[in-house]
């Protein structure tokens, strides 16, 4: 069954990301996701970017469904089910949060609940998400093209930060290749890590096997995985599965 919620407010965050605020009585934890159905168009998974009584999805324009979502107005309705999956596990360790692109949407509610420094990364400065959301916090910026902050990839900035700081855990969400690099860094340096993964998802409830990586279902066993499982995921950053379930190089 779907619940129908009304969009209260829409904020344009970047040229490709909009935040849609709504009210809903469910109590998600950071890292969990919902399925959004736009009747007659598509249904897709979306992580929650604000988790209070007033909730929000921050949606990047990537395909037909999200294009339709971006065309909606305040007062329009969304059909949702969820929350689903396992979110982040909050650990009492010195934390570094690393969000790439729209991955910041998933990390943001966790960052607000915890202490720790933040890396916000994007291809270019216009795509930096939630740059001003976190108060009294050390926020580092990285852009691939150098238009703001560190010039280069997020993991390169992280390696520098690790030289000067004693972080014990990395919480991350972003492009799979970025997370693969961070996992490798965490393994190499003996740091803890949790990553929120994304794969092509159909059912969202753990039965269709579309989003599985090495036998782990992103929708039910994840989307956030801890280090012991991430280490086992040999396909992560290397192979994915297409809509027909074929294993193909990433």
């Amino acid at each position: 069954m779907y619940r129908v919620v009304e969009i209260e407010e829409i904020i344009k965050e970047t040229p490709t990301i909009k935040t849609f605020f709504f009210r809903d009585e469910t109590q998600p934890s950071p890292g969990q996701f919902y399925m959004i159905w736009l009747p007659g168009v598509d249904e897709f998974p979306m992580s929650i970017s604000y988790i209070g009584e007033r909730k929000a999805f921050s949606v990047k324009l990537v395909g037909e469904g999200t294009r339709k979502m971006h065309s909606l107005s305040e007062g329009d309705r969304l059909w949702i089910r969820g929350p689903y999956g396992r979110g982040f596990v909050e650990k009492n360790k010195k934390a570094l949060f690393v969000g790439g692109g729209s991955g910041m949407a998933t990390l943001a509610p966790l960052i607000e609940r915890m202490r720790g420094d933040v890396v916000i990364a994007a291809r270019t400065k216009e795509e930096l998400l939630f740059k001003r959301r976190f108060k009294n916090r050390r926020v580092y910026i990285a852009t691939d093209d150098g238009s703001e902050g560190f010039r280069g990839f997020a993991h390169e900035l992280v390696e520098r930060l690790l030289e000067e700081n004693e972080y014990e855990i990395i919480y991350t969400c972003g492009p799979e290749l970025m997370m693969r690099k961070l996992i490798d860094i965490a393994i190499e340096r003996g740091l803890d890590i949790q990553a929120s993964l994304e794969r092509l998802m159909k059912c969202g409830i753990g039965i269709c096997d579309s989003c599985s990586i090495n036998g782990y279902r992103v929708c039910v066993d994840g989307p956030v995985f801890e280090k012991d499982i991430l280490i086992e995921m040999s396909d992560l950053g290397r192979y994915t599965r297409d809509r027909a379930g074929r294993r193909v190089p990433l």
Partner: protein
């Protein structure tokens, strides 16, 4: 205690993973085996890669699930590696296949045999794919032809999975009686409408209903067919706990397949049901589950 045989195929327990659930990739099947399944049936594999339907493909109900995944699968030519991985689990792997005619079924079954499966299951019953599954499976003559042709082409056991979406399942079961076992039932053709959207929920409109609400239909099918056709039966439909399994076995099933319960209880459901069954058997003085097959039949 729970070990069962279907023909010459031995299972450590009668709880098999049903086709279509967590069985597209070999590694997912391994997880299911690790959590106690006695055997696994693969996702239904066809001649070509197939993407399946657009979302929504699933709808959660308080009494079950409605789905129309649309026979998404990587295609038979890409499936050998997944079988190889699943076989590492050390329990029988049954390859499910769907084709449009006897020739396709026979080709697919041959390939599955080459890949090393222990049996093939013919999907004559998917309720939501044009030209496949149930559209073939309600035609007794066609069912007979397909089963005969596959039997001619392979040496491994052939199971026929039949649809409840027919007025006469016994007639179809008789038509499939050249097979080595009958699998009863697949999902029940159904649909749902969202009254706020004023639209059908599934992108394909029609889907298959599974879960607790269809168990009495499955029990009835197994009971009816057991009386009329002398073939081992694998019962499927709405099994959530040990009591459901025992009910199917008493109706005449030698083993069962479980799917929706993974959603309702989690992937641990296989080992949990197995120990629930052992408790029940000890309490009621049974040593072998095989003693219970068909004992509720009223003659």
């Amino acid at each position: 205690m729970l070990s069962v045989a279907i023909n010459d195929l031995r299972f450590r327990n009668p709880l098999l993973l049903a086709s279509g659930i967590l069985d597209e990739s070999g590694e997912s099947m391994l997880q299911v085996i690790k959590h106690g399944a006695g055997g696994v049936v693969t996702k239904s594999i066809g001649m070509e890669p197939r993407e399946g339907y657009e979302n929504p493909v699933i709808y959660e109900l308080s009494y079950g699930l409605l789905n129309a995944i649309g026979l998404a699968n990587p295609g038979i030519e890409n499936y050998g590696e997944e079988i190889k991985i699943a076989k590492r689990g050390g329990v029988p792997v049954i390859g499910s296949v769907f084709g449009k005619d006897a020739e396709e079924f026979a080709y697919l079954a041959r390939k599955m045999e080459e890949y090393g499966v222990d049996a093939v299951e013919l999907n004559l019953s998917c309720p939501h794919a044009r030209g496949y599954g149930m559209e073939i499976g309600v035609d007794a003559a066609l069912v007979e032809e397909i089963v005969k042709e596959v039997k001619r082409k392979v040496n491994i056991p052939v199971w026929a999975k039949l649809t409840p979406n027919t007025h006469n399942i016994v007639e179809i079961a008789k038509a499939a009686s050249d097979s080595d076992a009958l699998v009863l039932i697949n999902t029940v053709r159904a649909m749902a409408i969202d009254i706020e959207a004023k639209l059908p929920v599934l992108s394909n409109i029609f889907g298959g209903l599974s879960g607790p609400c269809i168990k009495p239909i499955g029990i009835r099918a197994v009971y009816e067919v057991y009386r009329e056709v002398e073939k081992p039966i694998v019962g499927v439909g709405g099994i959530i706990d040990a009591r459901d399994v025992i009910e199917y076995i008493m109706a005449g099933a030698s083993a069962v397949e479980i799917g929706t319960a993974i959603y309702l209880r989690g992937i641990h459901v296989f080992s949990e049901i197995a120990s629930e069954m052992e408790d029940w058997m000890k309490k009621h003085g049974y040593e072998k589950i095989e003693e219970l097959v068909g004992i509720a039949q009223v003659r």
